[in-house]
């Protein structure tokens, strides 16, 4: 079967080569049948890569350890769900996932645009097949997912314990969907520049894919943050890790693009800016993939060991050079059709918003790639940590939240000061009330957090005002009840009100971030059973040690041999609040040199965090038991000397029992963070708002509404 998979890769490369040639020939020679053949080559590519993906998937599900990737990342004891998802836990499998998702999304994009922009689409087809061909070539020549070893090993190494969590398994497909969807607007941008057609039709075509890329990338980022918080044992959700930053940068430029696209649509302005953003977003998506796959930067996330750096650098170089050339050579056709009417207009707020987003992206880009640049120049490794990032991103984020509240209240083209004053009155009053109340509660000692809370309150008030006023207008115009009017309002103005919901989500998310990072109480200390500590207003007491041995008690299917932990009672003011049960899982290493018993627990230990989450606060606990203590070490050493591999599990039972009877002091990490829940809630609201904004109106309704509006416009235009 590996032969079939590799043959699919070879076929895929040939299909890419043919499709590129056919598309370009078709559009240059005026032979539309060749352009269409090129488009169908993308469909064929999707089919072939689907077969390849299925071959690998079946190999994982059938435990075919003859496949090197299966042997390296799966085992007979890996639960089925994780085995199915382990396909993309390896370098090779993730490259296949990337190429496969790109082929699927490209097929969809080209199918939806098959009757429009034929010249633009032909060039876009060539670009997309170029990307696909690049990734397929990487698999054929550098990282073959179908490489085999015969005879096949009897058992695999198993899935990295850090990845044995549902959120982590869904995170890569979401993120890769985001990355691949971001390359589609890039391809259509290149196509539009080559065909010299950057017009309303182009905007309409790429908006939905830019939106989809933004949505999936955002979901992937949020899932990753959630995984970091709930599984990684350091208690944070964002560490300005290189791979985290790599996904955030294209999301920021995509956000900027979605806003400034509206200006081009309405006023024919910012064409150079929009085209540059589209090209930058796609290039940053490729650079993000480069960071994860090439192993060029140290990261807790990066799990690609093989050096794919050189091919990626070449591709990125071509993308950057090509983008600059295209924009400069087409600058005449990218001239703005209009000028900014007024600084007090939604256009200028969007422009300011864009500058902030791009500024944020630049800061993050510099901080992420600085180690590489520094090493290239000085020859010494260096890195930039969270304090550096926070210093520059926090003020920019504050301005961004403020602008997201100002924009909705200002009219397009021009607004008057009198109107602006009237519209800002209530939201500003709400913000000032929030300021007064929070300052009185002692929040003023953290001025940036206080500013963010007030900005968030301002945004929430603005959006509430918009919904109330819009519903009133709808009620007056259509005579509907308030709930019906609200529904109609959103249905008829999905982009506007979906966007407002996104702004609410962003405000809520940043309120959660500001609260949880500024008002966190944390402690790290050693405790014996019976000892306690205070964290903020809470008292945490180490009640008793806990131990569980797989598979009977491994309900989370983490695959650990044994998990040692603690029961921690949490009280506040003498009242029981909750009980935490953090533990550390010890995994098999497969290293015979560690001994029969040692090898059962010698793998990378993984913290199983315990969280009690709530609307106002999260109480988070992690434990690091001392497995090297005298008594426990003696059991392991004795077992190594006397027990065979089949008997070694008996020693693990003894180890667990000894731990329960004479638990050594354990290292605990406790955190009490306010409002963490609202980060995830905010993210969900952003996602929901994005869906509302992007949801197409039913075609019949759209056609009827368009027809009525055309008739009315024609009548009124005739009168004018």
């Amino acid at each position: 079967m590996a032969g079939l998979g590799f043959a699919c890769l070879l076929l895929a490369l040939m299909v890419c080569a043919y499709g590129i040639g056919a598309s370009i020939y078709g559009v240059r020679a005026g032979r539309p049948e060749f352009s269409e053949s090129g488009r169908r080559a993308v469909y064929a590519l999707a089919g072939v890569l689907t077969v390849a993906f299925l071959v690998l998937e079946v190999a994982f599900l059938r435990n075919d350890f003859g496949f090197n990737t299966v042997a390296d990342t799966s085992s007979r004891t890996t639960p089925t769900f994780y085995r199915a998802a382990a396909v993309w836990s390896s370098q090779e499998g993730s490259l296949l996932l990337w190429a496969w998702l790109l082929s699927l999304w490209s097929s969809l994009a080209l199918f939806l645009t098959r009757r429009r922009m034929r010249d633009v689409a032909a060039y876009a087809t060539a670009v997309l097949l170029g990307f696909a061909g690049f990734f397929v070539s990487l698999m054929i020549f550098y990282a073959n997912p179908f490489a085999t070893t015969r005879p096949a090993p009897a058992e695999g190494v198993g899935l990295d314990p850090l990845l044995r969590f549902p959120t982590m398994m869904i995170h890569p497909p979401m993120l890769y969907s985001g990355y691949t969807l971001c390359t589609i607007p890039l391809a259509f941008g290149v196509g539009a520049l080559l065909a010299r057609r950057v017009d309303a039709d182009w905007i309409k075509a790429i908006r939905r894919f830019a939106f989809a890329g933004w949505l999936f990338l955002g979901a992937g980022i949020l899932l990753g943050a959630r995984w970091s918080y709930s599984e990684l044992g350091w208690g944070g959700y964002w560490g300005w890790d290189a791979v985290e930053n790599a996904s955030l940068m294209p999301w920021l430029t995509a956000t900027a693009f979605l806003h400034s696209l509206m200006i081009q649509e309405k006023r024919g302005m910012l064409k150079v800016w929009n085209v540059s953003l589209v090209l930058a977003t796609g290039t940053l998506a490729i650079m993000g993939t480069f960071l994860v796959r090439s192993g060029v930067l140290n990261s807790i996330h990066a799990f690609g060991g093989a050096t794919l750096g050189v091919p990626f650098v070449c591709l990125i170089g071509v993308l950057i050079a090509g983008s600059i050339y295209l924009v400069v050579s087409r600058r005449e056709m990218l001239r703005s059709e209009n000028r900014l009417d007024s600084l007090l207009s939604r256009e200028s707020i969007f422009l300011a918003n864009n500058l902030v987003l791009v500024g944020l992206c630049f800061v993050i880009f510099w901080g992420t790639y600085f180690p590489l640049i520094s090493e290239a120049v000085t020859g010494q490794e260096s890195s930039v940590g969270p304090p550096w990032f926070d210093r520059y991103t926090v003020p920019l984020a504050l301005v961004l939240v403020l602008l997201s509240g100002i924009g909705p209240v200002i009219a397009w083209r021009r607004a008057t000061l009198a109107n602006a004053r009237r519209n800002f009155m209530i939201p500003v009053a709400v913000a000032l009330i929030a300021l007064g109340g929070l300052a009185a509660a002692g929040i003023a000692r953290k001025p940036l957090a206080l500013a963010m809370f007030c900005a968030g309150a301002f945004v929430l008030a603005v959006v509430a005002q918009e919904f109330v006023r819009g519903t009133r207008v709808r009620k007056a115009m259509a005579g509907e009840t308030a709930p019906r009017a609200l529904l109609s309002l959103v249905q008829r103005n999905r982009r506007r009100y979906g966007g407002y919901i996104v702004h609410v989500g962003i405000a809520v998310l940043f309120i959660g971030v500001a609260a949880s990072s500024s008002f966190q109480h944390a402690t790290e200390l050693q405790l014996r059973p019976g000892q306690s500590t205070k964290v903020g207003a809470y008292t945490l007491r180490y009640v008793r040690p806990t131990a569980s041995i797989t598979p009977k008690y491994d309900r989370a299917h983490t695959g650990s041999t044994v998990a040692l932990g603690a029961e921690v009672a949490v009280t506040k003011g003498g009242h029981r609040v909750t009980t935490l049960n953090p533990s550390e899982g010890y995994y098999s290493s497969g290293e015979a040199s560690q001994g029969t018993v040692g090898s059962l627990i010698g793998g990378q230990p993984v913290s199983h965090v315990s969280i009690d989450g709530g609307a106002t606060r999260d109480i988070w606990g992690a434990i690091q038991p001392n497995i090297e203590s005298g008594r426990l070490k003696k059991i392991v050493e004795a077992g190594n000397r006397t027990l065979s591999p089949d008997e070694a599990i008996v020693a693990i039972g003894l180890l667990a029992r000894e731990y329960l009877k004479h638990a050594p002091p354990a290292q605990f990490h406790f955190i009490v963070s306010p409002l963490v829940l609202w980060i995830w809630v905010g993210g969900l609201i952003v996602f929901l708002g994005g869906l509302v904004a992007a949801w197409p109106a039913p075609s019949l309704v759209r056609a009827k509404a368009a027809a009525r509006f055309r008739a009315r416009s024609s009548r009124e235009l005739a009168r004018a």
């Binding site: 079967m1 032969g3 079939l4 043959a7 076929l11 299909v15 043919y18 499709g19 056919a22 559009v27 005026g30 032979r31 539309p32 049948e33 060749f34 269409e36 053949s37 169908r40 080559a41 469909y43 064929a44 089919g47 072939v48 077969v51 429009r116 922009m117 034929r118 010249d119 017009d199 309303a200 039709d201 905007i203 309409k204 649509e265 309405k266 209240v409 200002i410 009219a411 397009w412 083209r413 021009r414 607004a415 109107n419 009237r422 519209n423 918009e466 006023r469 819009g470 207008v473 115009m477 103005n493 506007r496 368009a706 509006f709 055309r710 416009s713 024609s714 009124e716 235009l717 004018a720």
Partner: protein, 118 residues
């Protein structure tokens, strides 16, 4: 197993050729039919007219949306009435220009159609 893999590969190749070759076969048949009928084969060049029409239709939809947005801005108090009337007038004039361009396109394709029939 090796035989099955070879068969599967050939089936895939066949499907690929079928999928990507269909437009080429269709075009070749059209040319052959046109040649047999004595008519000139289709030029195969991408006509500018559908591209221009798509561009104008997208611009028209965007302009209608802008007119609706302006009305919404006025009714929700973001625009004063004088500003709204001025803006609405500008937007409707821009919409009229787009509708005129579409009408011109319709007339031109109507003229071409009658020339071809003639």
């Amino acid at each position: 197993m090796a035989v099955l893999i070879v068969i599967a590969v050939f089936v895939l190749i066949g499907l690929i050729v079928l999928v990507v070759g269909t437009p080429l076969r269709r075009a070749a048949l059209q040319r052959a039919a046109a040649a047999a009928g004595g008519a000139a084969p289709p030029s195969g060049e991408t006509s500018e007219e559908p591209l221009r029409r798509a561009e104008l239709e997208a611009a028209r939809e965007a302009k209608y949306r802008e007119i609706r947005d302006a009305e919404m801005d006025f009714r929700t108090g973001k625009l004063s009435e004088p500003d709204y009337r001025a803006l609405d007038g500008e937007l409707r004039a821009e919409a009229l220009r787009i509708l005129d361009a579409l009408d011109e396109l319709d007339r031109a394709s109507g003229r071409e159609g009658s020339e071809q029939i003639g």
